[in-house]
């Protein structure tokens, strides 16, 4: 908008144009700052301003009206009292006494606002400070407002006439010049007050708007940053713990959850991209080789069968991945119910006992007779089966696999502190795991070096981990010498926890998890 200095002829025109443009610019800027009525902040602030402004106006009007009518009533009351007193004087002492009283009163009147006039039936003045009967005053007992001129000053007076016996008439009034001045003063004061209030209102509205804007915009900025892919942004908390903080916290929690879900999806797609390639490549190579090189039908058939079984494995991996993702998304709580955990566990142990037997190891179940548990039965079955399956795989000959169930209290601080929990341990006497492996054990497709040659997909523990998390529990690994203990900490339903405690058999231990203060049974 700054004109190019090369053309001096046009110097004038852009100058003028700039003059036009300035208000437009500022209007635009204003509109930007106010944001128009579409902005909730502006509407909020305007609403506040209008409400405040109107209520201040109402308040001031009430004050004005109340004061004015009080003054009016005072005048009326004093005139009425005067008139009554004077008519009593008339009845007591007759005309001369009344005239005398009027003169006395006028002398005593310090404010010089009293007006009296006593006239005879012919309208001749007998006493009082008005020169003559005003023409406007015709009827008695009616208020008249007159402009009178006294000592060269015009003023407003309120008067009332009273009929006396023998057609004498009395006029009593008050010069209300002082009152009008007071009223004007009051009006001016209130008007100014209203003006100041109006200004304050708009200043206040501006503050309200900017406050509103501040708290909304931090949320809006964060969410829009997230919408543009910056998943690590969070709404800053003011630390005051007010409603805004509550909203911010709720949003942050939601964002954390979304991030976890997205990570899950990313992991699954990565897994599909990388880890499924290997078995697919194998199956493909198998089939292609057979198609190209098989000499007779038997070899061809064998190769195809192997290819099919490879594909079946891929399907199984797929299903496991999807199932883990689905459980992690937390959408499978629909099947949660209260059930007795013990028959479920003994069924699984019974299912695996012959298998363990074949491998030369045995399974021991140490558990109370009954234990009510709230969760998804089929998932708990699957989690425990996976753990037992693993334990059997790594158990040495003549080894013992122990499935132990105990109840205890959650020592971790937080919402669930002191809540009843259950631990399900599955321990073997195999070679165990290194610390580093334990940390990664529940990652998808992770297989410890020692486990490379055993069958499996590396998804079993991931599934267990997902199931435990869905139940609000924690999965932990401990070294035994020798062997490995996998422990699921699961929260128990609160109401029937106490009742179940008495059902525990003697030989089952009760863990008071004081030695694991770092353990947190956190909400998944």
């Amino acid at each position: 908008m700054i004109p190019a200095p090369t053309e001096p002829d046009e110097q004038d025109l852009p100058e003028r144009r700039r003059g036009f443009r300035l208000p437009r610019l500022s209007l635009k800027a204003l509109r930007y700052h106010i944001g128009g009525l579409r902005s909730a902040g502006v509407r909020f602030a305007l609403g506040y301003a209008v409400l405040f402004w109107v209520s201040a106006g109402l308040f001031l009007s009430v004050i004005w009206w109340g004061t004015a009518s009080l003054l009016q009533r005072q005048v009326e009351a004093s005139v009425a009292a005067d008139a009554r007193a004077l008519s009593e004087r008339w009845s007591d002492g007759g005309l001369s006494a009344l005239a005398l009283t009027i003169e006395d009163r006028l002398e005593d009147n310090v404010d010089d606002d009293a007006l009296y006039l006593l006239v005879d039936p012919h309208g001749e003045r007998i006493a009082g400070n008005l020169p003559s009967w005003p023409e406007a005053v015709a009827m008695s007992n009616v208020w008249y407002q007159l402009t009178i001129k006294r000592a060269g000053i015009r003023g407003v007076a309120e008067v009332q006439s009273f009929d006396l016996p023998k057609n004498y008439r009395l006029l009593v009034g008050r010069d209300v010049r002082g009152r009008s001045t007071l009223r004007h003063l009051l009006t001016d004061t209130l008007f100014w007050a209203w003006g100041i209030i109006t200004i304050l209102t708009f200043v206040g509205a501006f503050f309200v708007r900017s406050m509103f804007r501040r708290m909304i915009s931090s949320i809006a900025r964060t969410t829009s940053a997230i919408a543009h892919g910056d998943m690590d942004r969070r709404v800053p908390l003011s630390g005051r713990g007010d409603e805004i903080d509550e909203v911010a916290e709720a949003i942050n929690e939601m964002l954390d959850r979304i991030k976890r879900l997205m990570d899950g999806v990313k992991q699954v797609s990565n897994a599909i991209a990388h880890d499924l390639r290997t078995p697919i490549t194998r199956a493909r190579a198998q089939l292609e080789y057979a198609a190209l090189h098989a000499k007779d039908e038997t070899t061809l058939r064998a190769a195809i069968e192997e290819g099919v079984s490879d594909l079946d494995n891929i399907t199984a991996v797929f299903e496991a991945l999807l199932r883990i993702a689905q459980i992690e998304a937390g959408s499978r709580r629909s099947a949660f119910a209260t059930f007795d955990l013990m028959p479920v566990l003994s069924d699984i142990v019974e299912l695996y006992e012959p298998l363990a037997d074949e491998q030369g190891s045995r399974i021991v179940l140490r558990a109370p007779d009954h234990l009510q548990f709230y969760g998804d039965r089929s998932m708990i079955q699957q989690a425990v089966s996976n753990l037992i399956d693993n334990a059997i795989k790594f158990s040495p000959h003549n080894g013992t696999i122990t499935v132990a169930v105990a109840t205890g209290f959650n020592p971790a601080p937080g919402d669930r502190a002191g809540g009843r929990i259950i631990t399900i341990d599955v321990s073997d006497q195999g070679q165990g795991m290194t610390e580093a492996d334990m940390e990664r054990a529940s990652e998808r497709f992770f297989r410890a070096d020692a486990a490379r040659n055993t069958p499996g997909s590396g998804l079993g523990l991931s599934l267990v981990q997902a199931i435990v998390q869905l139940h609000g529990g924690v999965l932990q690994f401990y070294s035994r010498s020798p062997g490995l203990c996998v422990r699921m900490y699961l929260p128990l339903p609160e109401d029937d926890g106490k009742k179940q405690g008495t059902d525990m058999t003697e030989d089952s231990q009760t863990y008071h998890l004081q030695d694991r203060p770092d353990l947190l049974l956190s909400q998944s």
Partner: protein, 226 residues
């Protein structure tokens, strides 16, 4: 058996129809929901194999619901790519008798279809005794005898044998055993079932000359007389 196959994918349909025909069944085919529904209500079948997602505006569950609302109790096996537990429950709730997710092995499908067809025929009379070639099972006293000789079985072994005997002459897959005997609806990583069956064999077959429990390669087990 007369079987209706409603499946839109021509490869899968051809594969299943060919397999079923080869094993001696009569197969009618439909490739969309409308034709499938028409055939299902107008003709009599022993088993219907129904894909869930079908073209033609009528999906598998709609066909199933329509059939059941007309008091047609033909056993229905739902075939679906929806492997979700909730989908499975929805399918069974709609009136399905069995649910098989894609991809599937033909042997699994065949075994389940034959089990369904059998169930449709002899469900009327509740049995108290099962008998196959000298192997007797008394369901009331829960005892098993073979050639007059008593065989001691654990409760679970009893149920396993009962399941095999009820499906005598048919292939029973490992998944069917896991679902039917243990009521587990997931695949254990190792074949625990094989061990259970081999234990049962030890008791039922080993002391006798003729084996009754046979392994069917790539499919499962079968209890038969020959």
């Amino acid at each position: 058996m007369r079987i209706l196959l409603v499946e839109d994918d021509p490869t899968v349909r051809g594969f299943v129809a060919k397999g079923l025909t080869e094993t001696g069944h009569l197969v009618e085919q439909a490739d969309n929901g409308k034709d499938g529904l028409f055939l299902a209500v107008s003709e009599k079948f022993d088993v219907i194999i129904l894909d869930r997602m079908l073209p033609g505006g009528i999906d598998g569950l709609r066909i199933l619901e329509t059939l059941r609302s007309q008091a047609n109790a033909t056993p229905v096996l739902i075939l679906s790519a929806l492997a979700d537990v909730d989908d499975r429950v929805a399918g069974l709730k709609a009136g399905g008798d069995d649910y098989l997710t894609k991809p599937f092995a033909f042997s699994e499908l065949l075994a389940r279809v034959e089990a369904l067809g059998r169930r449709g025929r002899n469900e009327s009379a509740p049995q108290t005794k099962l008998e196959i070639n000298g192997l007797e099972m008394d369901l009331l006293s829960r005892t098993v005898k073979r050639e007059g000789q008593k065989i001691d079985l654990q409760p679970r072994e009893f149920r396993l044998l009962e399941f095999l005997m009820r499906h005598a002459g048919q292939v029973v897959t490992r998944t069917m055993l896991l679902e039917g005997v243990w009521d587990y609806h997931f695949d254990p990583q190792t074949n625990v079932i094989d061990v259970h069956v081999s234990r049962l064999r030890q008791k039922v077959d080993k002391p006798f000359e003729q084996p009754l429990i046979h392994t069917v390669r790539n499919a499962g087990y079968m209890l038969r007389a020959d």
